[in-house]
Structure formats: structure tokens, C-alpha cells
Symmetry: C2
């Protein structure tokens, strides 16, 4: 059975909890009483199968809950329904002179409820921090249909356990987020972006350290990609070109600054780049001269995932690792796989987040067997995370022990059982099968 809630159904009911939470509550109450499993679904842009039904789950699609509830221009606090598309919120805030502390490639489709449920990271985390810091409150419907109103709009509130954090990143397995309150920073007028080349990974690392120290408060993104990633984008995406003169560089970095003073910020970034060039950390580089050029630089970084899709089959890994060891994994994987595959590394260097992707002409179990469990064991050995920002969903639920202790996972399972005793909320996801049905 697959069931999509119709807009009409959403609109015909008003309750004390707002116009659209009531029906979600009633659907869950009904499903819980009959032990019918449900999958909450936002923009369905996740990469680990967290928002797709596995067998006969009822899909609760959140797209109709797309209203902004309130925005306070003094505090910058936005309250909105879970189905708001991220890009729409970004535009809304832009008109108000504020910015979302979250930005990611899928913004055109992904929804804020899904972002919060999966604790999405993205491109601005290095500046604004994680959603655990920026989300001030949520309204959530529990498995039994109870509505938990934690929709606070306060920066500080130490009255009891801060339960909202249980739902941030739990991928819809403990409740369905229906509203979100989020702290948004004022928009700053001056944004600068540089596309840079580094001769080796060690230079990228040093450049990051220097950027954090010298650009300090204006640094808003530090992304990197290797030359294999750039080649892939140039070969598979139309209209994308290398901003630098053709030459052999091994790594590329995007450094973005966001501040409140156009001329000073640009001078500051230019001075930093000059210094880094003289110090040998950068081999070449170009500063975006206008917003179009900046968009074309971002297109390269944000286009890697799309280019991979066009190139053939792809094995995707989203890992957190200590920055100094991060790229060793890419190199070891290349040696392991030889010429059978293209191994590329890119991601949010500023957050220690590597997107390791392996591109092959078609899916091949022999290749997969060479990648896994090696990639997880390597990550675990270096105390990394096997899912930095994508979550576990269906695909990685059984891999949780590579990053979490048995005691921690056991406690997660106990909390799941406490809050969803019939196991109706997004089953087969997040927690390992061995535990979620015990």
C-alpha cells in the first residue's frame, strides 16, 4: 500500500496545532492503532534510502505543509512548516535581509523538515555550525499521534531535557517533524569567492589552517576537490569550464568569505591569497569578479554529484575523518581498485567531511567487495564517521557499529522502543535490523 496525502485533505481541517498538523496526528494515531508502518517523506533527495518505503509502508508526504508561520526581524527567528522547500526559504529570507544557516546542492527540492530530520550539513556549516545549534524548536508528531509542541523561539531555554535534539538527525524514526523554528543570521552584503589550485593535499590542509586564522570571522566556506573530480565535471556537464589556465594541478579549493564591508573584505581575501601564493600553498587561483562568475565556480563544486551520475555507476561514501588523514583513504582506494574504477575525493574540507566516490561503467559486485567493508573498517580505525551528513537510512543501518559503540546503539534502540513501541515509524532505517526487532 502506498498512500499520498492529498492537499485537500490537509486543508479541510483546522486544529489547535495549526492547519496541517492535525491530519498528520490523526493518520499516525490510526496507523499506530493498527500497526501500519509509515515513511515520512520530504523532498526525497536523501542518498541512503531514508525516505523511501521498503515494503508496504504508508508514505506521509509533507509537501503541502509549505507555509511560513512567522518571521521576527529583530531576532531573525523563522518559524515554518516542515514541507517548505529550502530554496524557497532562502529566497524568503533574502528578501527580509537574512540568510539560512544551511545551504546544499539539493536546495531546489529538499524540504526543511527533511533537512532537520536528517541533520543536513552542507556548504555553510563551517561558518554557521550544525542544525543542533541553529534549530531553536520543533513541533513533532509522535508515533501514537500525540503532538509534541517544542516550537520555542528562544535562543536559550534550560528547562528540562532538550528533547528536540533527539529528533534532529533521527531520520523520522522517532516522530514526524511538522514545524521548525530556526535562528537565521542577518545577510551580510559582501560575499567573495576564490577558486584555487594546490599542488598537493598537504598544501590544501595548510591553506585551511591559514584561512581559519587569517580570514577568521569572514570565512564562510572551504571546499575542496581533486583533479579527478574536476575532470569528471568538465567531461560530463555542459557549459562548465575550468576557471584556471589548463595546467596540471592535483587539488582545487573554493574559499568563500562573507562579511559586511565590500572593499575591506575583498582586500583582506586578496592579501590572504597573495600571501598564500608567495608561501607556495597555492599554485594558481582566480577571484570571482561578479556573481555570475561566482555561480560558475560553485557550479563546479556542486556539479560533482551530477557528473558522477552521468558517468555511469557510482559508489558513494560520505565520511568524517581527521583532516590530516582524510585523503590517504582516497589514495589507498586507488591502489586497491587499480584501473577498474575512477576514485575521486571532494567535499567540505573545513568540516573534515570527505565525499569519497567510486565511478565505474556499471555496478559490479566484485568491485563492491573490494570497497566494502574496507572503507568502513578504515574509517572506523581512524575514529571517523561512516556517515558525516547523509545519515544511515536503509542502506547503512547495519553499518552503525563502525561508528558507534554497542552500548550507544543499545540505548538508541531502547529509546526507539520507548517512543515507538509498535515500530511503525520509518522501519528498517537508522538502527540495525538485529536490534530494531528485538
Amino acid at each position: 500500500m502506498s498512500f499520498r496525502m492529498r492537499t485537500g485533505f490537509f486543508l479541510q481541517t483546522r486544529t489547535g496545532c495549526g492547519s496541517t498538523t492535525g491530519p498528520v496526528s490523526r493518520v499516525l494515531k490510526y496507523c499506530n492503532s493498527r500497526s501500519l508502518a509509515v515513511v515520512p517523506q520530504g523532498g526525497n533527495t536523501g542518498l541512503v534510502g531514508g525516505s523511501v518505503p521498503v515494503f508496504d509502508e504508508v508514505i506521509i508526504n509533507m509537501a503541502s505543509m509549505k507555509n511560513v508561520v512567522s518571521f521576527d526581524k529583530v531576532s531573525g527567528i523563522l518559524v515554518c512548516e516542515a514541507g517548505c522547500i529550502l530554496e524557497n526559504l532562502i529566497s524568503f529570507l533574502d528578501n527580509q535581509g537574512f540568510v539560512m544557516p544551511l545551504d546544499l546542492g539539493a536546495k531546489g527540492s529538499c524540504q526543511i523538515g527533511g533537512n532537520v530530520s536528517t541533520n543536513a550539513g552542507g556548504l555553510r556549516l563551517v561558518r554557521y555550525g550544525s542544525l543542533h545549534g541553529n534549530v531553536l524548536g520543533i513541533e513533532v508528531v509522535l508515533a501514537n499521534g500525540d503532538v509534541l509542541d517544542m516550537l520555542g523561539t528562544l535562543r536559550k531555554d534550560n528547562t528540562g531535557y532538550d528533547l528536540k535534539h533527539l529528533f534532529i538527525g533521527s531520520e523520522g524514526s522517532l516522530g514526524i517533524i511538522t514545524k521548525v523554528s530556526i535562528l537565521t543570521p542577518p545577510k551580510l552584503s559582501s560575499v567573495n569567492l576564490a577558486f584555487l589550485a594546490c599542488k598537493d593535499y598537504s598544501s590544501c590542509q595548510k591553506l585551511l589552517l591559514e584561512a581559519k586564522r587569517r580570514l577568521g570571522e569572514v570565512l564562510s566556506a572551504f571546499e575542496f576537490l581533486d583533479n579527478q573530480s574536476l575532470d569528471l565535471v568538465l567531461n560530463h556537464l555542459e557549459g562548465v569550464r575550468n576557471p584556471l589556465p589548463p595546467s596540471m594541478h592535483n587539488f582545487y579549493a573554493l574559499i568563500e568569505t562573507t562579511g559586511s564591508d565590500e572593499s575591506y573584505d575583498k582586500e583582506k581575501l586578496e592579501a590572504f591569497l597573495l600571501r598564500s601564493m608567495e608561501g607556495g600553498l597555492i599554485s594558481d587561483g582566480v577571484l570571482a569578479q561578479d556573481i555570475n562568475q561566482a555561480s560558475s565556480f560553485w557550479r563546479i563544486r556542486e556539479g560533482v554529484a551530477e557528473a558522477l551520475m552521468k558517468a555511469g555507476a557510482v559508489y558513494k561514501y560520505d565520511l568524517s575523518l581527521p583532516v590530516e588523514k582524510m585523503y590517504n583513504l582516497v589514495e589507498e582506494m586507488r591502489i586497491r581498485l587499480g584501473d577498474s574504477s575512477k576514485v575521486i575525493g571532494y567535499g567540505h574540507l573545513g568540516d573534515g567531511n570527505l565525499h569519497l566516490n567510486i565511478s565505474t561503467p556499471q555496478y559490479d559486485d566484485m568491485i563492491l567487495a573490494q570497497i566494502e567493508p574496507f572503507v568502513y573498517e578504515w574509517t572506523s580505525k581512524h575514529r571517523g564517521s561512516i556517515s558525516a551528513e547523509h545519515g544511515l537510512g536503509l542502506m547503512k543501518a547495519n553499518k552503525i557499529f563502525y561508528s558507534k559503540s554497542r552500548e550507544s546503539v543499545q540505548l538508541m534502540a531502547s529509546i526507539k522502543k520507548l517512543m515507538d513501541p509498535n515500530g511503525i515509524l520509518n522501519p528498517y532505517k537508522v538502527l540495525p535490523h538485529s536490534l530494531s526487532y528485538s
Copy 2:
């Protein structure tokens, strides 16, 4: 029975969990098996009785766990034991070129484990955000003595429920934090501080909004106090003087900026102050010329609590409220109490956090009856928090319903029961008595 763990006891045992976690685990295992209640105690600087025994609880004093475990200069990630005194960590990091994202008046005694357990806020929250954003991992001993190793040092990790948040701010009632991993930003070289006078509260608010927008990325603190607070400090603390020429101002604000460029940052702040003066938002003001003058300005703001103690009896309230309504409460309280008491308001305006304090010659139940429950009802009516940063502890546990819904508190109690079925961890605290023994 009151029991203080001796240093010798801590040191004589080494386990896989580090040199000092083992004994905490064994003490809890023992106490749990015999249903002996325990109180974890850090610097004992809390204001709501969260770290004091009520009847016969065993005190587990954390002062011996005072080692820095590791510090990574590339990522700025500090791992340390729970008993480290905040000020020692601030000094340690200063030597490494980094800063703690947390600073508060009690830093000379309070411990990082206590800070995290109570989700301490303090003076830098407006810049660096809350501990939910900055704490990357913790090690915690559960009621049954199990050690939960969640001591991650990664900025991003979406593998399962992020359980550490349950312990941040739960005031030792779900487990005892033994180690902390925290993300620290690089120290920026240029700090500027201005002490300003505003004619009315409305000007303070507008000044805050302007500061957020125009100082943007360099704003690191925005504190306010009313003239009654300043009078109290000037009258009761030795060696403190008003930095401004004597004149009748109703409000004072401290604005601090932290950036990476001395001359530019100062110019920026000066330009902002000039503009605000011309626009009538500021009536008078002075920019600290050196670190000594800056310390003397901070002494005024940080000295209010001490001055109150010297002035007589004090009723303390730590409230989060929408900024625009915040000071109405102070004014209404003055009308309510008449000449019997001094009502003062100060706090972290940048975070919407008011410290409302009522000073009387001695404690008087008649006065208390005029303050409570009025202050809680007023706060609840405006969807504020009755404890912004101090927690609930013993004194406010029964007040939780003013800020949290019945469903939320019920879920908190269920989680408490799941994790501490014998109720040995910090009993009588945080949760209302009606629920914690049900």
C-alpha cells in the same frame, strides 16, 4: 551520608576508559545495585541547587578529573576531563592561539563537566552559539555504571541518534559526564569593547538590531544593564567607577567586537558608534583604550551578581523572553513591589536573556508571594523560558510546566525512568516531584 572521592582513589586505577572514569563507573555500579542516590558535583557554582545533596545522597566530586586529554591545533578540537576548571581551559587554549566558545562570571571555579551538564550560556553565546553546537562528544557514565563512549572529535557525524544532547543540560540526572570534546575557534587578535548609555529600553533594542547588522561577523557580545544595576555595583563593589561622566542615563550596553584586524575593527566600531550617536540610539559612550580599561568595563557587568549578594537578600530569576517585551516585566514588577524592594534588570540582550533580580534588606515571604507565581505566569504567557541558562535544579524542578508542555515533561520522565530506573542520579532535581516518583 556524604562522600567525597579522594584523589588517591582516582589515581590508583587505570582502565580502558582512561585513568579516572573507571572509579566513577564502579561507584555508580555499586550505588545503583544498592539504590543509593548520588549527586555529581563540579565547581558547585550553580544557582538553582542542582549540585547539592538534599538528604543523604553520595556526592561524587569531579575535581580530580582535571587533565587535558588532547588538543588538535589543526581542527581546534579540545578533549579534556570533566573536572577541568573553565578558566584553566581558557588559559590553556590562549597559549595555543584558540579560545573557549564559552565564558562566564564563575569561570574561576566552575568545571567544564558542570558547564556541559547544565548547558551553560554566558557571555559569548551571541557569537559562538550554544554548547549543543560546540560540544562534539562526551564520555558519560550511566546510572548502572556502564561507560558510554561518545567522545567523538568530528564536526559531522550522522550515524544514529545524537545521544550526547540528552546529557547536555540534563543536570546530571541521566548520567555523569566524565570527558568532553569541544570545538574551539582560533583566537582573533583584535578585541574592542565599548561602554554605552541609552536613554530608554527602546534605544537598546534598536542598537542591538543595528549592531547585528552593521558589526555582523565581528560582534562578540551585547550585554545590557539598567541604571539600578549600575548603582548597585558602584555602591557595593570597591574600586569600581562609572566610566561615563555622571549623568542620568536609564540603560547601559556593553558591545564587544572580536576580529582579526586591529585597525580596521576599531575603525568599524567607531564608525558604528558615531552613527548610533548621531541617530540618537546612544546618549553617551566610551571605547576601552586598553585591556585594563576593558577589564574594568567587564567588571561592572560581571559584578552585578556579587553586588547583589552584598546588598542583602536577593530573589534571582533567569528568563528568556522576546527582546521587545523583556523589560516590561521589570517595570511591572517595580509597580507590584513598590518601595519595598529594588528591582533590577540586566543580562544578555543579544540572546534575549534577562536576569531579573529583586533585592531586599532580608528575605520576606510576603515579598516572595508578590513575586511568585506572577513572574512565572508572566513569562509563560509570553512563551518565554523560566530558566534561560541556569537550569531547574532543585529550586525550579516543580516550575517546569510554565515552560514545557505536559506531553514533553511526560516524555522526559519516561526517558529518565528508562535510563535510571532506580532513580539514583541527582534525585529531586530537574523533573517535577509529581512525575519523578510515579
